[in-house]
């Protein structure tokens, strides 16, 4: 296994509806927690990468504002963006900076303050997430994009609305035990099935909630990591891929091709197979997205994702525990912070620090973070 780049520190704020603080203050909290997690001081950080989806920012070029507030000047800083997968894109860039020798310790800080905008402004931006020339003029928006996948998955494989709903039931169970999650209430199958329709067949509880929050992941070279901590978590595999932005031009409408490709790269680099993964965080922005992720990451065959959740195989004691922190559906989805939060969960699992949510003996973990409707995908394989 490659032991060249490691994660040494992680932190995140609580994910909330409206945080009541600035983006700088949000990032400060996550950064401070990550520094304390590995006993580093700001002066030990060589470089910072700030990640968010810019359409939600009021501040132009947030990297500069945040780097200043964290007291990191004159250290280099810049912005990394791939919408919902921005912070794992930041980790990918950090990996490159460290392997090239340009930096030894890099802080990847992801954030989003979605309450910065009025719901009307959010609604306006929502309409521009698809191809603005040929698809936005019809009123396409994110849940409708995933709904088109959901309907096609149901038609092709016989996946049911109950199976989709079971993903949310699982998420709510673990979010209830995660103090940083937005939802602190368990929901039943009936709650999900009876929630109002957003874009058929997806209902309100099939969709994750917009949120405010920040995350921080501190990445270090092998040499530094061994000095900083006794429990470095190694980035054993890292894969990244893209697919068409246009919904009609996706390679496949039953799964996310970018996930398949990013996972192939990550498994090959880490020299492991899907069956070797002990715990996974997958990008469940919608219930259908988690079911497709099971299949596209190789946890089951194409078309068997519905059955996998039905059998309870992705619960904490199942064959492949998935999103044992509530996932996006349970924690909320502050776009730029989400990938870093997923990584934090897996790092805690591999260190054995996940408390009530600990998957026993977890040694190899996977993070799957998607941007847009299957537009960008990053897959990381982490090892103790």
């Amino acid at each position: 296994m490659s032991k060249e780049v490691a994660i040494v520190g992680v932190g995140q704020t609580a994910f909330t509806r409206a945080c009541g603080v600035t983006i700088k203050e949000l990032c400060f909290e996550a950064f401070k927690e990550a520094l304390e997690d590995c006993n580093l001081e700001p002066k030990d950080i060589d470089e910072s990468i700030i990640c968010s989806a810019p359409e939600y920012d009021k501040q132009r070029s947030p990297a500069g504002a945040i780097n200043e507030y964290l007291g990191l000047n004159p250290k280099p800083t810049f912005y990394a963006e791939s919408i919902c997968s921005s912070s794992t894109t930041g980790i990918r860039v950090a990996y490159g900076l460290i392997k090239s020798g340009l930096s030894s310790v890099v802080a990847v800080i992801g954030f989003q303050k979605m309450s910065e905008l009025s719901s009307r402004e959010v609604q306006e931006r929502m309409g521009r997430g698809s191809d603005i020339m040929w698809e936005s003029p019809f009123g396409l928006f994110m849940p409708a994009g995933y709904a088109l996948f959901a309907r096609n998955h149901m038609k092709t494989y016989g996946t049911t609305e109950e199976q989709l709903a079971k993903v949310k039931v699982k998420s709510s169970k673990y979010a209830f035990l995660n103090p940083k999650a937005i939802y602190q209430r368990e929901v039943t199958l009936e709650d999900v099935l009876n929630s109002r329709v957003i874009a058929s067949p997806l209902k309100m509880y099939d969709c994750c909630a917009n949120a405010d929050g920040a995350s921080c992941v501190i990445v270090a070279s092998a040499e530094k990591a061994k000095k900083i901590t006794d429990t470095p978590i190694w980035i054993a595999g890292i894969g990244s891929a893209s697919d068409a932005l246009s919904i009609a031009k996706k390679t496949n409408l039953t799964g996310l091709t970018c996930t398949v490709e990013a996972a192939r790269q990550a498994y090959a680099m880490a020299k492991v197979e899907p069956k070797d993964i002990d715990v996974a965080e997958v990008h469940d922005c919608f219930t259908i997205a988690e079911i497709m992720a099971y299949e596209n990451l190789g946890f089951c065959k194409p078309g068997e994702g519905g059955k996998l959740i039905e059998e309870g195989q992705t619960y904490i004691d199942g064959k492949i525990p998935v999103n044992i922190d509530g996932g996006l559906l349970g924690k909320g989805h502050p776009i730029g912070a989400t990938g870093g939060s997923q990584v934090r969960t897996i790092v805690q699992q591999l260190r054995g620090e996940a408390g009530k949510l600990q998957v026993k003996g977890a040694e190899i973990g996977l993070v799957h973070n998607v941007g847009g409707v299957g537009l960008y995908a990053n897959v990381l394989i982490l090892r103790r």
């Binding site: 521009r128 603005i132 009123g139 409708a144 309907r151 096609n152 038609k155 329709v197 957003i198 409408l253």
Partner: protein, 140 residues
């Protein structure tokens, strides 16, 4: 200028394919094709991303037969579409192997839809001198 007439809410005005709107006005649904590598584009574009030949693209009428793949009824909408709720969004495929995303005609309801059903694409005039296209069931 010119392309801003396409769609209920438009975000693009200048493009090399603005003639698409004029063709649509005449009832023609036009795609483009590269004269060199023969790749067909719909929606149209004037740059060939297959062979990258210069000035190789020509307008051509598309084969207007579509098979419904998937659809969703939106009960929620981005800014500018609130009055349309509920509306049906669909993806369909043509015999030329083109997949297209568009709205379904307002006079069709979700329970009338079945993946695999045949559709055609028709120009549709909208208020404020705007124009678009939508899927309509054949015979419907």
């Amino acid at each position: 200028m010119g392309f801003e007439r396409f769609g209920k809410v438009s975000y693009v005005s200048e493009t090399k394919v603005k003639d698409f709107v004029n063709y649509l006005e005449q009832g023609k649904i036009m795609g483009t094709q590269c004269r060199i590598c023969k790749k067909i584009y719909f929606p149209p574009q004037m740059d060939c991303n297959n062979c990258y030949s210069k000035d190789s693209m020509v307008w051509r009428e598309i084969v207007n037969e579509w098979t419904l793949i998937t659809y969703t009824t939106a009960h929620f909408a981005p800014t500018g579409f609130e009055d349309d709720i509920p509306y049906i969004l669909a993806i369909a495929e043509s015999p030329e192997g083109i997949r297209l995303f568009a709205r379904l005609s307002k006079d069709v309801s979700e329970d009338q839809l079945k993946p695999g059903m045949k559709l055609k694409l028709v120009p549709v005039r909208l208020p404020n001198d705007k124009i678009s296209y939508e899927f309509k069931p054949i015979g419907g």
